[in-house]
Symmetry: C2
Subunit: 189 residues, 2 copies
Amino acid sequence: MDLQTAIRERRSCRKYLPDPLSRETIEELLEAGTWAPSPANNQPWEFMVVTNGEFKEKIFAEAEARKSILFEKSGWKWLNRYEVGFLKEVPVILAVIGDPKKTGADMFLKDGGQAYQHACAAAIQNILLTAHSLGLGSLWFTLFEKDAIREILGLEAEKDPVALICLGKPDGEPFQTPRKGVQEKTTYR
Amino acid sequence: MDLQTAIRERRSCRKYLPDPLSRETIEELLEAGTWAPSPANNQPWEFMVVTNGEFKEKIFAEAEARKSILFEKSGWKWLNRYEVGFLKEVPVILAVIGDPKKTGADMFLKDGGQAYQHACAAAIQNILLTAHSLGLGSLWFTLFEKDAIREILGLEAEKDPVALICLGKPDGEPFQTPRKGVQEKTTYR
């Protein structure tokens, strides 16, 4: 698929068909992730591919609980309406796990120490674009406490589950969200 | 350009030709950025396109000073050897500026409040891939203190200059950095 088509057509998908993904497809997605840039080429990411229903159920339970808590804290109505049942149905939940020790020179900066997260985010974007190019839907999901995900997935305390990525064949056409124009977002110096 | 070609061929470029980029090219790059996903489609990015030599000179001076300080703190020899003169020569330095107020529901999480940075990182990756597809070199640059960049570029204190992106025609072939294999980075649950 053409790069610009992937960039412009990719959308968040919240309804999936149960069809499993092949190991080959999963590795193709992950390899696209690994070609992301990172500080001093530290490659500060690891991937955990979750297909087991028991783990998905626990992730769903965490998201459900967290949604209620965040709705109470924020009062944001969309949080109350947000159905996260797709976490049980989606064939693959991919945990993208960052290593803060591999953040690079920014660990010595005043507001630094987060470059490893940015590298993981770039890897995630490669994965989302590749998923779309393979006819798959995807969702960048962060409605969880990191400690809860560490416990569910058995991660070490010093590893950072930056995001969970839902991956599977889309059930229907995802909603097309618009974007503000470039002029509105840009100044020149 | 094919998506996978862009993902696999993109490399960090640290030597640029002085040829300016057209406004059309710059807007094409930025528009690719705006199609990145963001929490609740908040689009928490702004772009500042720096082409003026005076600003580039100040950014170079900050990077030079910071490099020395970080070398002293870290003892990392590559920092001492790292020549950042390309900051004066590159035709465009793009500041990608995040808005922490647009981070989304993660602001209510224990380790949250950084999702706006991740969205900016996804936008940056779209821009780097698009630059490569247009025959341009790029570099994701973060060797600066954010306060210094805020002062140089006249940004508000509450805005976050997440990264500076160098963009221009490459002078020569960038160094090809390898990647670890997917198997080494992946577990299955």
